[in-house]
Protein backbone atom coordinates (compact mmCIF):
# COMPACT_ATOMS: atom_id res chain seq x y z
CA UNK A 1 0.00 0.00 0.00
CA UNK A 2 1.19 3.46 -0.87
CA UNK A 3 2.00 5.85 1.94
CA UNK A 4 -0.61 8.55 2.70
CA UNK A 5 -0.30 11.66 0.54
CA UNK A 6 0.94 14.56 2.73
CA UNK A 7 -1.51 17.45 3.01
CA UNK A 8 1.27 20.08 2.91
CA UNK A 9 1.61 19.96 -0.88
CA UNK A 10 -0.24 19.89 -4.21
CA UNK A 11 -0.43 17.09 -6.78
CA UNK A 12 -0.57 16.76 -10.55
CA UNK A 13 -2.72 14.19 -12.33
CA UNK A 14 0.53 12.69 -13.64
CA UNK A 15 1.59 11.78 -10.07
CA UNK A 16 4.04 14.59 -9.31
CA UNK A 17 3.94 16.54 -6.09
CA UNK A 18 4.83 20.23 -5.53
CA UNK A 19 5.76 21.57 -2.09
CA UNK A 20 5.92 25.32 -1.65
CA UNK A 21 8.78 26.37 0.61
CA UNK A 22 8.95 29.41 2.87
CA UNK A 23 11.09 31.19 0.26
CA UNK A 24 8.45 30.64 -2.42
CA UNK A 25 10.43 28.01 -4.36
CA UNK A 26 8.73 24.74 -5.19
CA UNK A 27 10.27 21.34 -4.47
CA UNK A 28 8.96 18.65 -6.82
CA UNK A 29 9.00 14.87 -6.86
CA UNK A 30 6.85 11.88 -7.70
CA UNK A 31 4.27 10.39 -5.37
CA UNK A 32 4.60 7.20 -3.40
CA UNK A 33 1.83 5.75 -5.54
CA UNK A 34 3.92 6.53 -8.65
CA UNK A 35 7.03 4.83 -7.26
CA UNK A 36 4.91 1.80 -6.36
CA UNK A 37 3.65 1.61 -9.93
CA UNK A 38 7.18 2.00 -11.33
CA UNK A 39 8.65 -0.47 -8.79
CA UNK A 40 12.44 -0.93 -8.86
CA UNK A 41 13.77 2.44 -10.00
CA UNK A 42 17.31 2.07 -11.37
CA UNK A 43 17.99 5.35 -13.16
CA UNK A 44 17.03 9.01 -12.87
CA UNK A 45 17.82 11.67 -15.48
CA UNK A 46 17.78 15.05 -13.75
CA UNK A 47 17.08 18.45 -15.34
CA UNK A 48 19.94 20.86 -15.94
CA UNK A 49 20.37 23.75 -13.52
CA UNK A 50 19.02 26.98 -14.92
CA UNK A 51 16.71 25.28 -17.39
CA UNK A 52 13.36 26.97 -17.88
CA UNK A 53 10.44 24.57 -17.82
CA UNK A 54 6.76 25.07 -18.49
CA UNK A 55 3.97 23.51 -16.50
CA UNK A 56 3.28 19.94 -17.74
CA UNK A 57 6.55 19.84 -19.72
CA UNK A 58 8.64 16.66 -19.41
CA UNK A 59 11.71 17.73 -17.43
CA UNK A 60 13.12 14.52 -15.92
CA UNK A 61 13.13 10.79 -16.65
CA UNK A 62 12.75 7.91 -14.24
CA UNK A 63 13.55 4.37 -15.36
CA UNK A 64 12.70 1.07 -13.74
CA UNK A 65 14.15 -2.21 -15.00
CA UNK A 66 11.29 -2.51 -17.45
CA UNK A 67 10.09 1.01 -18.15
CA UNK A 68 11.03 4.59 -19.02
CA UNK A 69 8.77 7.32 -17.62
CA UNK A 70 8.78 11.06 -18.23
CA UNK A 71 8.31 13.29 -15.20
CA UNK A 72 6.34 16.49 -15.84
CA UNK A 73 6.92 19.85 -14.22
CA UNK A 74 3.95 20.64 -11.96
CA UNK A 75 4.65 24.39 -12.32
CA UNK A 76 6.50 26.68 -14.76
CA UNK A 77 9.78 28.26 -13.77
CA UNK A 78 13.53 27.87 -13.55
CA UNK A 79 15.32 24.80 -12.21
CA UNK A 80 17.39 26.04 -9.27
CA UNK A 81 18.36 22.69 -7.74
CA UNK A 82 18.38 19.00 -8.66
CA UNK A 83 18.73 16.08 -6.27
CA UNK A 84 22.06 14.69 -7.51
CA UNK A 85 21.94 12.07 -4.75
CA UNK A 86 19.51 10.22 -7.07
CA UNK A 87 22.28 9.73 -9.65
CA UNK A 88 24.04 7.28 -7.37
CA UNK A 89 21.05 6.22 -5.26
CA UNK A 90 17.98 6.07 -7.52
CA UNK A 91 16.41 3.70 -4.99
CA UNK A 92 15.77 6.75 -2.77
CA UNK A 93 12.72 7.29 -4.97
CA UNK A 94 11.36 3.91 -3.92
CA UNK A 95 12.29 4.36 -0.29
CA UNK A 96 11.20 7.95 0.33
CA UNK A 97 9.38 9.50 -2.64
CA UNK A 98 7.91 12.34 -0.56
CA UNK A 99 11.19 13.19 1.20
CA UNK A 100 14.78 12.22 0.32
CA UNK A 101 13.61 11.17 -3.15
CA UNK A 102 12.74 14.73 -4.20
CA UNK A 103 13.78 15.45 -7.81
CA UNK A 104 14.24 19.19 -8.28
CA UNK A 105 13.48 22.69 -7.00
CA UNK A 106 11.81 25.22 -9.23
CA UNK A 107 11.69 29.00 -8.92
CA UNK A 108 8.06 29.40 -9.80
CA UNK A 109 6.95 31.94 -12.46
CA UNK A 110 3.27 32.13 -11.65
CA UNK A 111 1.81 31.00 -8.32
CA UNK A 112 -1.68 30.84 -9.85
CA UNK A 113 -0.59 27.66 -11.66
CA UNK A 114 -0.87 25.88 -8.32
CA UNK A 115 -4.63 26.26 -8.58
CA UNK A 116 -4.89 23.63 -11.32
CA UNK A 117 -3.10 21.10 -9.12
CA UNK A 118 -5.00 18.79 -6.78
CA UNK A 119 -4.96 18.82 -3.00
CA UNK A 120 -4.11 15.61 -1.13
CA UNK A 121 -7.73 14.52 -0.74
CA UNK A 122 -8.55 14.98 -4.42
CA UNK A 123 -5.34 13.22 -5.49
CA UNK A 124 -6.00 10.31 -3.12
CA UNK A 125 -9.48 9.99 -4.59
CA UNK A 126 -8.05 10.01 -8.12
CA UNK A 127 -5.57 7.19 -7.51
CA UNK A 128 -8.23 5.20 -5.70
CA UNK A 129 -10.33 5.32 -8.83
CA UNK A 130 -7.34 4.66 -11.08
CA UNK A 131 -6.41 1.51 -9.19
CA UNK A 132 -9.91 0.05 -9.48
Amino acid sequence: MAKPNPTDRRYSREHEWALIGPDGTVTVGITDYAQEMLTDIVFVELPQMGRKVRQAEAFAVVESVKSVSDIYAPVSGEIIAANTELETRPELLNQDAFGDGWIARIKMDDPSELDVLLDAAAYSEMILQESH
Binding site: F43, V68, E87
Partner: protein, 373 residues
Protein backbone atom coordinates in the same frame (compact mmCIF):
# COMPACT_ATOMS: atom_id res chain seq x y z
CA UNK B 1 -5.71 -12.71 -24.80
CA UNK B 2 -4.60 -16.28 -24.27
CA UNK B 3 -4.26 -17.44 -20.70
CA UNK B 4 -2.14 -20.24 -19.32
CA UNK B 5 -3.62 -22.79 -16.86
CA UNK B 6 -1.79 -20.86 -14.11
CA UNK B 7 -3.39 -17.48 -14.84
CA UNK B 8 -5.74 -17.62 -11.84
CA UNK B 9 -2.79 -18.27 -9.54
CA UNK B 10 -0.90 -15.26 -10.89
CA UNK B 11 -3.92 -13.06 -10.25
CA UNK B 12 -4.34 -14.44 -6.74
CA UNK B 13 -0.65 -13.70 -6.05
CA UNK B 14 -1.20 -10.09 -7.11
CA UNK B 15 1.05 -10.29 -10.16
CA UNK B 16 1.16 -7.47 -12.66
CA UNK B 17 -0.11 -8.89 -15.93
CA UNK B 18 1.07 -7.80 -19.37
CA UNK B 19 0.31 -8.77 -22.95
CA UNK B 20 3.24 -10.87 -24.13
CA UNK B 21 2.66 -11.69 -27.79
CA UNK B 22 -1.03 -12.25 -27.20
CA UNK B 23 -0.57 -14.01 -23.85
CA UNK B 24 -1.67 -12.56 -20.52
CA UNK B 25 1.49 -13.23 -18.52
CA UNK B 26 2.88 -12.10 -15.17
CA UNK B 27 5.69 -9.56 -15.68
CA UNK B 28 6.38 -9.39 -11.93
CA UNK B 29 4.84 -10.54 -8.67
CA UNK B 30 6.63 -8.08 -6.35
CA UNK B 31 9.50 -6.50 -8.25
CA UNK B 32 11.87 -7.54 -10.98
CA UNK B 33 15.12 -7.05 -9.07
CA UNK B 34 14.01 -9.13 -6.09
CA UNK B 35 12.84 -11.92 -8.37
CA UNK B 36 16.10 -11.73 -10.32
CA UNK B 37 18.27 -12.04 -7.19
CA UNK B 38 16.06 -14.82 -5.82
CA UNK B 39 16.84 -16.83 -8.96
CA UNK B 40 20.59 -16.30 -8.76
CA UNK B 41 20.81 -16.89 -5.00
CA UNK B 42 17.95 -19.29 -4.20
CA UNK B 43 15.22 -20.59 -6.46
CA UNK B 44 12.23 -19.32 -8.46
CA UNK B 45 9.33 -20.69 -10.49
CA UNK B 46 8.37 -19.42 -13.94
CA UNK B 47 5.13 -20.10 -15.78
CA UNK B 48 6.26 -21.10 -19.27
CA UNK B 49 3.03 -22.85 -20.30
CA UNK B 50 2.72 -20.38 -23.19
CA UNK B 51 5.65 -21.99 -24.99
CA UNK B 52 5.03 -24.45 -27.82
CA UNK B 53 5.54 -28.20 -27.97
CA UNK B 54 5.48 -29.91 -31.36
CA UNK B 55 5.90 -33.69 -31.48
CA UNK B 56 7.59 -35.21 -34.52
CA UNK B 57 7.50 -38.99 -34.79
CA UNK B 58 7.65 -41.92 -37.18
CA UNK B 59 10.43 -43.87 -38.88
CA UNK B 60 11.43 -40.84 -40.97
CA UNK B 61 11.36 -38.40 -38.06
CA UNK B 62 15.15 -38.04 -37.91
CA UNK B 63 15.75 -37.48 -41.65
CA UNK B 64 12.85 -35.02 -41.66
CA UNK B 65 14.27 -33.04 -38.73
CA UNK B 66 17.73 -33.13 -40.26
CA UNK B 67 16.20 -31.42 -43.29
CA UNK B 68 14.27 -28.91 -41.20
CA UNK B 69 16.86 -27.89 -38.61
CA UNK B 70 20.35 -26.41 -38.85
CA UNK B 71 22.11 -28.70 -36.44
CA UNK B 72 23.15 -32.32 -36.88
CA UNK B 73 20.79 -34.34 -34.68
CA UNK B 74 22.22 -37.78 -35.49
CA UNK B 75 24.39 -37.91 -32.33
CA UNK B 76 21.39 -37.04 -30.15
CA UNK B 77 20.50 -39.98 -27.90
CA UNK B 78 17.25 -40.74 -26.15
CA UNK B 79 17.09 -38.62 -23.01
CA UNK B 80 19.14 -35.80 -24.51
CA UNK B 81 18.11 -32.43 -25.84
CA UNK B 82 19.74 -29.86 -28.08
CA UNK B 83 19.33 -26.25 -29.00
CA UNK B 84 18.74 -25.83 -32.74
CA UNK B 85 17.34 -23.44 -35.32
CA UNK B 86 14.57 -23.48 -37.86
CA UNK B 87 15.60 -21.25 -40.80
CA UNK B 88 14.04 -20.36 -44.14
CA UNK B 89 15.60 -20.83 -47.60
CA UNK B 90 17.53 -17.58 -47.20
CA UNK B 91 18.95 -18.72 -43.87
CA UNK B 92 16.73 -16.29 -41.92
CA UNK B 93 15.83 -17.51 -38.45
CA UNK B 94 12.22 -18.70 -38.09
CA UNK B 95 12.77 -19.84 -34.50
CA UNK B 96 15.33 -21.00 -32.00
CA UNK B 97 14.07 -24.09 -30.26
CA UNK B 98 15.12 -27.13 -28.27
CA UNK B 99 14.82 -30.68 -29.59
CA UNK B 100 14.16 -33.51 -27.12
CA UNK B 101 14.68 -37.11 -28.18
CA UNK B 102 12.15 -39.35 -26.42
CA UNK B 103 12.85 -42.58 -28.31
CA UNK B 104 14.07 -44.06 -31.57
CA UNK B 105 11.56 -42.23 -33.72
CA UNK B 106 10.10 -39.80 -31.23
CA UNK B 107 11.19 -36.18 -30.92
CA UNK B 108 9.69 -33.08 -29.35
CA UNK B 109 10.45 -29.51 -30.42
CA UNK B 110 9.97 -26.86 -27.73
CA UNK B 111 9.38 -23.50 -29.39
CA UNK B 112 8.95 -19.90 -28.44
CA UNK B 113 5.40 -18.80 -27.59
CA UNK B 114 5.23 -16.21 -30.36
CA UNK B 115 6.39 -18.62 -33.05
CA UNK B 116 4.65 -21.89 -32.23
CA UNK B 117 1.85 -21.55 -34.79
CA UNK B 118 4.25 -20.44 -37.50
CA UNK B 119 6.67 -23.28 -36.74
CA UNK B 120 3.90 -25.85 -36.90
CA UNK B 121 2.59 -24.62 -40.26
CA UNK B 122 6.16 -24.42 -41.60
CA UNK B 123 6.85 -28.02 -40.59
CA UNK B 124 3.58 -29.27 -42.15
CA UNK B 125 4.40 -27.49 -45.42
CA UNK B 126 7.94 -28.82 -45.32
CA UNK B 127 6.66 -32.35 -44.82
CA UNK B 128 4.61 -31.99 -48.02
CA UNK B 129 7.50 -30.47 -49.92
CA UNK B 130 10.08 -33.01 -48.85
CA UNK B 131 7.85 -36.03 -49.28
CA UNK B 132 8.34 -37.32 -45.73
CA UNK B 133 4.63 -38.02 -45.57
CA UNK B 134 5.00 -40.78 -42.99
CA UNK B 135 6.24 -38.34 -40.38
CA UNK B 136 3.66 -37.41 -37.79
CA UNK B 137 3.82 -33.73 -36.81
CA UNK B 138 1.50 -32.77 -33.95
CA UNK B 139 1.10 -29.44 -32.18
CA UNK B 140 0.67 -30.39 -28.53
CA UNK B 141 1.18 -26.90 -27.12
CA UNK B 142 -2.29 -26.62 -25.60
CA UNK B 143 -2.17 -30.08 -24.06
CA UNK B 144 1.25 -29.69 -22.46
CA UNK B 145 2.02 -27.38 -19.55
CA UNK B 146 5.50 -26.22 -18.59
CA UNK B 147 7.00 -24.74 -15.44
CA UNK B 148 10.66 -23.74 -15.05
CA UNK B 149 12.25 -24.10 -11.64
CA UNK B 150 15.54 -22.19 -11.69
CA UNK B 151 18.31 -21.42 -9.25
CA UNK B 152 20.96 -23.18 -7.17
CA UNK B 153 18.35 -24.73 -4.85
CA UNK B 154 16.16 -26.14 -7.64
CA UNK B 155 17.72 -29.60 -7.63
CA UNK B 156 17.39 -30.02 -3.88
CA UNK B 157 13.71 -29.15 -3.92
CA UNK B 158 12.89 -31.37 -6.88
CA UNK B 159 14.91 -34.26 -5.46
CA UNK B 160 12.54 -34.50 -2.49
CA UNK B 161 9.61 -34.88 -4.89
CA UNK B 162 10.73 -37.39 -7.51
CA UNK B 163 11.70 -41.08 -7.19
CA UNK B 164 14.84 -40.81 -9.33
CA UNK B 165 18.30 -39.47 -8.59
CA UNK B 166 18.75 -36.06 -10.22
CA UNK B 167 22.43 -35.49 -9.54
CA UNK B 168 23.59 -37.63 -12.50
CA UNK B 169 21.24 -35.78 -14.87
CA UNK B 170 23.62 -33.64 -16.93
CA UNK B 171 22.96 -30.25 -18.51
CA UNK B 172 20.62 -30.60 -21.50
CA UNK B 173 19.51 -34.10 -20.53
CA UNK B 174 16.03 -35.13 -19.41
CA UNK B 175 14.05 -37.96 -17.91
CA UNK B 176 10.44 -39.03 -17.53
CA UNK B 177 9.27 -39.52 -13.98
CA UNK B 178 6.45 -38.52 -11.66
CA UNK B 179 6.07 -35.65 -9.24
CA UNK B 180 3.38 -36.06 -6.58
CA UNK B 181 1.78 -38.76 -8.80
CA UNK B 182 1.75 -36.39 -11.81
CA UNK B 183 3.70 -37.77 -14.80
CA UNK B 184 6.35 -35.21 -15.72
CA UNK B 185 9.33 -34.70 -18.00
CA UNK B 186 12.27 -32.98 -16.31
CA UNK B 187 15.19 -31.52 -18.22
CA UNK B 188 18.18 -29.81 -16.69
CA UNK B 189 17.95 -26.61 -18.72
CA UNK B 190 16.46 -23.15 -18.67
CA UNK B 191 16.74 -19.53 -19.69
CA UNK B 192 18.37 -17.86 -16.71
CA UNK B 193 22.06 -18.83 -16.67
CA UNK B 194 21.52 -20.75 -13.43
CA UNK B 195 21.21 -24.43 -12.73
CA UNK B 196 17.60 -25.50 -12.97
CA UNK B 197 14.97 -27.59 -14.67
CA UNK B 198 12.20 -27.25 -17.19
CA UNK B 199 9.25 -29.36 -16.04
CA UNK B 200 6.57 -30.56 -18.47
CA UNK B 201 3.20 -32.03 -17.53
CA UNK B 202 -0.34 -32.32 -18.90
CA UNK B 203 -1.84 -28.80 -18.98
CA UNK B 204 -4.56 -29.71 -16.49
CA UNK B 205 -1.90 -30.80 -13.99
CA UNK B 206 0.13 -27.58 -14.24
CA UNK B 207 -1.66 -25.98 -11.29
CA UNK B 208 -1.05 -29.00 -9.10
CA UNK B 209 2.67 -29.12 -9.96
CA UNK B 210 2.96 -25.35 -9.37
CA UNK B 211 1.37 -25.73 -5.91
CA UNK B 212 3.53 -28.73 -5.00
CA UNK B 213 6.74 -26.93 -6.00
CA UNK B 214 5.86 -23.70 -4.17
CA UNK B 215 4.93 -25.68 -1.09
CA UNK B 216 8.00 -27.94 -1.15
CA UNK B 217 10.33 -25.02 -1.72
CA UNK B 218 8.97 -22.76 1.00
CA UNK B 219 11.78 -23.51 3.47
CA UNK B 220 14.29 -22.87 0.68
CA UNK B 221 12.84 -19.45 -0.03
CA UNK B 222 11.19 -20.29 -3.33
CA UNK B 223 9.07 -17.61 -4.98
CA UNK B 224 7.43 -17.14 -8.37
CA UNK B 225 9.22 -14.88 -10.85
CA UNK B 226 7.77 -13.08 -13.85
CA UNK B 227 8.83 -12.26 -17.39
CA UNK B 228 10.65 -9.14 -16.18
CA UNK B 229 13.20 -11.16 -14.23
CA UNK B 230 13.27 -13.79 -16.96
CA UNK B 231 14.41 -11.08 -19.36
CA UNK B 232 17.15 -9.60 -17.13
CA UNK B 233 18.39 -13.11 -16.23
CA UNK B 234 18.61 -14.29 -19.83
CA UNK B 235 20.27 -11.08 -20.97
CA UNK B 236 22.96 -11.27 -18.27
CA UNK B 237 23.58 -14.85 -19.35
CA UNK B 238 24.03 -13.65 -22.96
CA UNK B 239 20.96 -15.53 -24.20
CA UNK B 240 19.00 -14.09 -27.09
CA UNK B 241 15.26 -13.53 -27.37
CA UNK B 242 13.33 -14.29 -30.53
CA UNK B 243 11.68 -11.08 -31.71
CA UNK B 244 14.44 -8.92 -30.19
CA UNK B 245 17.73 -10.31 -31.48
CA UNK B 246 16.25 -12.68 -34.04
CA UNK B 247 13.69 -12.49 -36.80
CA UNK B 248 13.29 -13.92 -40.30
CA UNK B 249 15.73 -11.41 -41.81
CA UNK B 250 18.53 -12.28 -39.36
CA UNK B 251 20.83 -15.24 -39.97
CA UNK B 252 22.56 -17.43 -37.37
CA UNK B 253 26.00 -16.06 -38.29
CA UNK B 254 24.88 -12.49 -37.68
CA UNK B 255 23.88 -13.33 -34.13
CA UNK B 256 25.80 -15.69 -31.85
CA UNK B 257 24.30 -18.88 -33.27
CA UNK B 258 26.89 -19.81 -35.89
CA UNK B 259 27.78 -22.82 -33.76
CA UNK B 260 24.26 -24.20 -34.30
CA UNK B 261 24.75 -24.44 -38.07
CA UNK B 262 26.21 -27.56 -39.64
CA UNK B 263 26.70 -26.77 -43.31
CA UNK B 264 28.10 -30.25 -43.93
CA UNK B 265 24.57 -31.67 -43.83
CA UNK B 266 21.62 -30.95 -46.10
CA UNK B 267 18.94 -28.70 -44.63
CA UNK B 268 16.61 -25.94 -45.78
CA UNK B 269 18.64 -22.73 -45.92
CA UNK B 270 22.02 -24.45 -46.09
CA UNK B 271 23.09 -23.02 -49.44
CA UNK B 272 22.34 -19.46 -48.38
CA UNK B 273 24.18 -19.93 -45.10
CA UNK B 274 27.16 -21.66 -46.74
CA UNK B 275 27.43 -18.68 -49.07
CA UNK B 276 27.21 -16.20 -46.22
CA UNK B 277 29.80 -18.11 -44.24
CA UNK B 278 32.16 -17.92 -47.20
CA UNK B 279 31.52 -14.27 -48.04
CA UNK B 280 31.43 -13.09 -44.46
CA UNK B 281 28.86 -11.08 -42.62
CA UNK B 282 28.31 -7.34 -42.71
CA UNK B 283 26.68 -6.90 -39.31
CA UNK B 284 27.17 -8.73 -36.05
CA UNK B 285 25.35 -8.91 -32.75
CA UNK B 286 27.61 -7.88 -29.88
CA UNK B 287 27.33 -7.42 -26.15
CA UNK B 288 28.02 -3.94 -24.79
CA UNK B 289 28.26 -2.27 -21.45
CA UNK B 290 27.46 1.37 -20.83
CA UNK B 291 30.35 3.60 -19.82
CA UNK B 292 28.25 6.74 -19.31
CA UNK B 293 25.13 6.93 -17.19
CA UNK B 294 21.94 5.71 -18.79
CA UNK B 295 20.25 2.57 -20.00
CA UNK B 296 20.31 1.79 -23.72
CA UNK B 297 17.11 -0.03 -24.63
CA UNK B 298 15.57 -1.96 -27.52
CA UNK B 299 15.46 0.21 -30.65
CA UNK B 300 17.97 2.86 -29.55
CA UNK B 301 20.44 3.79 -32.30
CA UNK B 302 24.18 3.12 -32.29
CA UNK B 303 26.43 5.80 -33.81
CA UNK B 304 29.98 6.27 -34.96
CA UNK B 305 31.27 9.65 -36.13
CA UNK B 306 27.73 10.97 -36.13
CA UNK B 307 26.44 8.26 -38.46
CA UNK B 308 23.93 5.56 -37.48
CA UNK B 309 25.71 2.20 -37.67
CA UNK B 310 23.34 -0.11 -35.81
CA UNK B 311 20.68 -0.54 -33.19
CA UNK B 312 20.18 -1.97 -29.74
CA UNK B 313 18.14 -5.18 -29.67
CA UNK B 314 17.93 -5.64 -25.89
CA UNK B 315 19.18 -3.47 -23.06
CA UNK B 316 18.55 -3.18 -19.38
CA UNK B 317 19.97 -2.47 -15.99
CA UNK B 318 21.53 -5.81 -15.03
CA UNK B 319 20.78 -6.46 -11.35
CA UNK B 320 23.62 -8.95 -10.74
CA UNK B 321 26.23 -6.86 -12.56
CA UNK B 322 24.82 -3.61 -11.14
CA UNK B 323 25.31 -1.82 -14.43
CA UNK B 324 23.56 -1.21 -17.73
CA UNK B 325 24.31 -3.73 -20.49
CA UNK B 326 22.76 -4.80 -23.74
CA UNK B 327 23.00 -6.45 -27.15
CA UNK B 328 23.26 -4.51 -30.40
CA UNK B 329 23.80 -5.01 -34.10
CA UNK B 330 26.95 -3.25 -35.31
CA UNK B 331 29.05 -3.43 -38.51
CA UNK B 332 31.23 -6.55 -38.46
CA UNK B 333 34.39 -4.46 -38.08
CA UNK B 334 33.08 -3.13 -34.74
CA UNK B 335 32.64 -6.54 -33.18
CA UNK B 336 35.90 -6.82 -31.27
CA UNK B 337 35.67 -6.47 -27.49
CA UNK B 338 37.02 -3.10 -26.45
CA UNK B 339 35.51 -1.25 -29.42
CA UNK B 340 33.92 2.06 -28.39
CA UNK B 341 30.36 2.77 -29.45
CA UNK B 342 28.05 5.73 -29.00
CA UNK B 343 24.40 5.12 -28.27
CA UNK B 344 21.78 7.85 -28.42
CA UNK B 345 19.68 7.86 -25.27
CA UNK B 346 16.89 10.36 -25.77
CA UNK B 347 18.69 13.60 -26.68
CA UNK B 348 22.16 12.75 -25.48
CA UNK B 349 24.95 10.50 -26.67
CA UNK B 350 26.27 7.93 -24.23
CA UNK B 351 29.47 5.94 -24.51
CA UNK B 352 29.44 2.14 -24.50
CA UNK B 353 32.08 -0.56 -25.01
CA UNK B 354 31.81 -3.90 -26.78
CA UNK B 355 32.39 -6.71 -24.25
CA UNK B 356 32.58 -10.50 -24.56
CA UNK B 357 29.46 -12.59 -23.92
CA UNK B 358 28.06 -13.78 -21.61
CA UNK B 359 27.97 -10.83 -19.24
CA UNK B 360 27.40 -13.24 -16.37
CA UNK B 361 28.49 -16.84 -15.86
CA UNK B 362 27.50 -18.81 -12.81
CA UNK B 363 30.09 -20.51 -10.67
CA UNK B 364 30.40 -24.13 -11.65
CA UNK B 365 29.18 -25.88 -8.54
CA UNK B 366 27.59 -28.80 -10.32
CA UNK B 367 30.29 -31.23 -11.40
CA UNK B 368 28.03 -32.53 -14.17
CA UNK B 369 27.49 -29.12 -15.67
CA UNK B 370 28.72 -29.02 -19.20
CA UNK B 371 28.83 -25.88 -21.30
CA UNK B 372 28.70 -27.79 -24.57
CA UNK B 373 25.03 -27.98 -25.36
Amino acid sequence: MNKTPLFGRHEALGARIIDFGGWAMPVQYTNVIEEHHATRERVTLFDTCHMGEIDVSGPEALPFLQKALTRDLSPLETGQMRLSLLVNEKGGILDDLTVYRFGNDRYRLVTNASTRGKDYRWLLALREKTGYRGVDVTDRSDAIGKIDIQGPRAEGILQELVPVLLKPLTYYSFLETSLGSVPVVLSRSGYTGEDGFEVYMASEEAGRVWDILLDAGRAQGIRPAGLGARDTLRLEAGMMLYGNEMCESVTPYEVVYGWLVNIKKDFIGRDALAQQKQQGIRRKLVGFQMEDRGIARHGYQVFRDGVVIGDVTSGTFAPTLQRAVGLAFVPADCREPGTSLTIRIRKSEARATVVPLPFYRKEKKNEFYNTFI
